[in-house]
């Protein structure tokens, strides 16, 4: 019973780790990676005790390895850089020109 629960938990954590590793939130994948890894170790330990073979260990470890590789790769090669802001700069310019026209008829009250 306990073993089944750990296998399910390990699977969920491993899948979650892979999903998170693919998204820009890859840093957060570390938590489910650790959970899945610990579950994997527990399953190995239990299987040795029972002298049974469990295939699920391979799948969990495979997913952990994929997630870990992606997370490490991203943390090394992805720098915090802003993408194209051409459109933003263009809107900025347009707004400035438009604002100048709108402000043309405004009198600044020095008391305010």
């Amino acid at each position: 019973m306990g073993k089944k629960l750990i296998i399910i938990l390990g699977f969920i954590a491993a899948v979650l780790a892979v999903i998170l590793a693919v998204t820009p939130l890859s840093n957060l994948a570390v938590i489910p990676i650790i959970v899945a890894f610990v579950c994997g170790l527990l399953i190995i330990f239990m299987s040795k005790k029972d002298k049974t073979k469990t295939k699920s260990i391979q799948y969990i470890f495979l997913m952990v390895i994929i997630a870990l590789a992606l997370t490490i790769y991203k943390s090394i090669y992805y720098t915090s850089e802003v993408g194209d802001i051409e459109q933003l700069e263009q809107r900025d310019e347009e707004n400035l020109e438009d604002s100048k026209e709108l402000l043309e008829d405004i009198d600044i009250d020095e008391d305010l």
Binding site: P24, G83, D111
Partner: protein
């Protein structure tokens, strides 16, 4: 009694016509916005706050511009390109025109407030995009209080406050016009604190922000703002509590400062 009344009116007058001696033309502050979940930081966007001079045939105004742009890795998932600007009187930081031009993951919205301080009115214009790409406008007249400001000018106005005269525990309310509604924001001075930032270790004023009648910012004293305890009062660090984890805003660089 008369004397007290005179002092009181003088103080009120002073607070209304507070002179801007903090913010200069050409100032540029760059921040990095990140999401913090139990110590694991994920960078999300770059936020810039810039000031510049805008001249019309009659007067000179200060343009306060805030932009937010997500980092490259987010652009395919949720691309944010926001522009907030406010045109203010450079001496008193009173706003005359406010614009909010936002594009967040395919959602577009434009807001414009044109202030008429004498009539205490704001002419508001809302522009949204339909799915087929066409836009539609909504014009409204909104009644405002004498001290009502927009979000951008309030941010700069806070920097111009005489915090060195305040005692820990003091608080002040600000009325901010956002989405055609007046919202009251309370700012509380908590303490002085020295924190290390990208621009060096700084002694800061630690301020707590809360919004009345809104649950956007959760918890009491958990939405914090650190302003350097010098004449520039640069916002160096801000922390916001969100349902899962924290949002953080950290300074990357500050140039063109007045002092």
């Amino acid at each position: 009694m008369k004397k007290y009344f005179f002092v009181f009116t003088l103080l009120c007058g002073l607070s209304i016509t507070a002179q801007n001696n903090t913010i200069a033309f050409g100032e540029k502050l760059v921040f990095s916005a990140s999401y913090n979940m139990s110590g694991i930081l994920t960078d999300i966007a770059e936020v810039k706050m810039e000031t510049s001079e805008v001249k019309t045939s009659k007067s000179t105004l200060m343009r306060l511009k805030c932009t937010a742009a997500t980092y490259k890795k987010w652009d395919n998932f949720f691309k944010i390109r926001d522009l907030y600007e406010s045109y203010v009187n450079p001496k008193t930081l009173t706003p005359y025109l406010y614009k909010r031009d936002i594009s967040e993951g395919g959602y577009y919205k434009f807001m414009q407030y044109k202030y008429n301080h004498k009539a205490k009115l704001v002419k508001s214009l809302k522009r949204k995009k339909r799915k087929d790409g066409t836009t539609w406008d909504e014009n409204k007249n909104v009644k405002i209080n004498a001290s009502t400001k927009d979000i951008v000018s309030t941010l700069y106005y806070i920097r111009n406050l005489d915090i060195h005269k305040a005692n820990p525990g003091d608080q002040q309310d600000f009325i901010v016009l956002f989405d055609n509604k007046e919202t009251s924001i309370t700012l509380k001075y908590l303490s002085k604190e020295t924190i290390s930032t990208k621009i060096g270790s700084k002694e800061c004023y630690k301020l707590a922000i809360s919004i009345k009648g809104s649950d956007v910012l959760k918890g009491s004293n958990s939405n914090l703002l650190w302003l350097t305890a010098d004449e520039n009062k640069i916002p160096v660090y801000a922390k916001f509590k969100i349902p899962v984890g924290n949002g953080e805003l950290k300074i990357q660089s500050a140039t063109g400062l007045k002092h």
